[in-house]
Symmetry: C2
Subunit: 163 residues, 2 copies
DNA sequence: TCCCTAGAGTTGACACGTCAACTCCTACTT
DNA sequence: AAGTAGGAGTTGACGTGTCAACTCTAGGGA
């Protein structure tokens, strides 16, 4: 603590407070998605990304790029979701061999309900309690943070919980 | 999307942008802690909490309360950290049987270095780029979110990465 | 043609986290 | 003293996430 770099108590407090608020909000939104629809945030992200893809079908590597995930993470996630019957690994066999990932009817049904429910939760727990000047500050901070730390945003996964 | 509750594109965009900024910042801070000191965020939280406890010793249940974690999570974490030689489960055997958790010399050495490094990282990546009015907005939003969602804050774990 | 490199995808080992079920001990009740 | 309720702690099953190593195949020289 004799380091000149040491944070002052009110600085630690801002950091801690912000971290805790974040964690509570994400927990709340995730838990509601889980209890109302029965899918996790990770499953929701994959399903939404597939839903918005042309033909509702993508390759693993494109899914990974769109979500900003590692491809091994996508592969593990797909293995679990295939087991739950939410997605299919379509192996185009002899001809194209493109191994596209697609939605099952069950997956499509769930994600369509989830988009509505999740939107409502985001509105209730994030957007509504946000005062206009808070929204402006958060937007500005977020953009400058992404510019500073993010190399190239995934860009296209609008509406998916990014993580 | 024909739901009246549906979010407008700029609302989705604010949510996505904020989520992504958060994720990038946490990733950056965690990765630096890992590469500079060689411990994870979870390990750091446990070590800092122990370091600040009277006698650097706590029971599992108090650790859990202070961190805001489930006790089973604490137990699993301690099992891994005991394997790495960072903490000890002191079983006071016949007399008190209090099963206090303590720091090993190695654990103490690491956490003392980590506090300095982590503080510097928080300053560089969170506090410094924050304009004063952004800090005020983030503090206000965090506090109202905690009041709305948090039932009883853990309170005392000042300085630990709360999650 | 044969090799061989580079991309796509999978797998295994491990860290992290939750939930539910379990053991163990203490303290209270009768 | 026997019984029991409850707190403290652990464990196992499983979902989530990273890293490194692996397979497979297409395409591109020599």
């Amino acid at each position: 603590m004799r380091n000149p770099d040491a944070l002052k108590p009110e600085e630690w407090d801002l950091w801690d407070t912000w971290m805790q608020a974040q964690r509570l909000l994400l927990q709340e939104i995730d838990r509601r998605l889980q209890s109302e629809i029965g899918i996790s945030k990770a499953e929701f992200s994959v399903l939404v990304t597939l839903l918005r893809a042309p033909g509702s079908e993508m390759r693993v590597v494109d899914l990974a790029a769109s979500l900003g995930w590692e491809k091994s993470r996508v592969s593990h996630q797909l293995t679990r979701m295939e087991g739950r019957g939410l997605v299919v690994r379509a192996e185009s066999g002899a001809s194209g061999r493109r191994t596209g990932i697609g939605l099952t009817p069950e997956g499509r049904r769930l994600v369509e309900r989830a988009v509505v429910a999740h939107g409502g939760n985001v509105r209730r727990h994030f957007l509504d309690p946000l005062a206009p000047e808070q929204a402006a500050a958060i937007r500005a901070w977020s953009e400058q943070t992404i510019n500073r730390l993010g190399q190239g945003g995934t860009g296209t996964t609008e509406g998916a919980a990014p993580e």
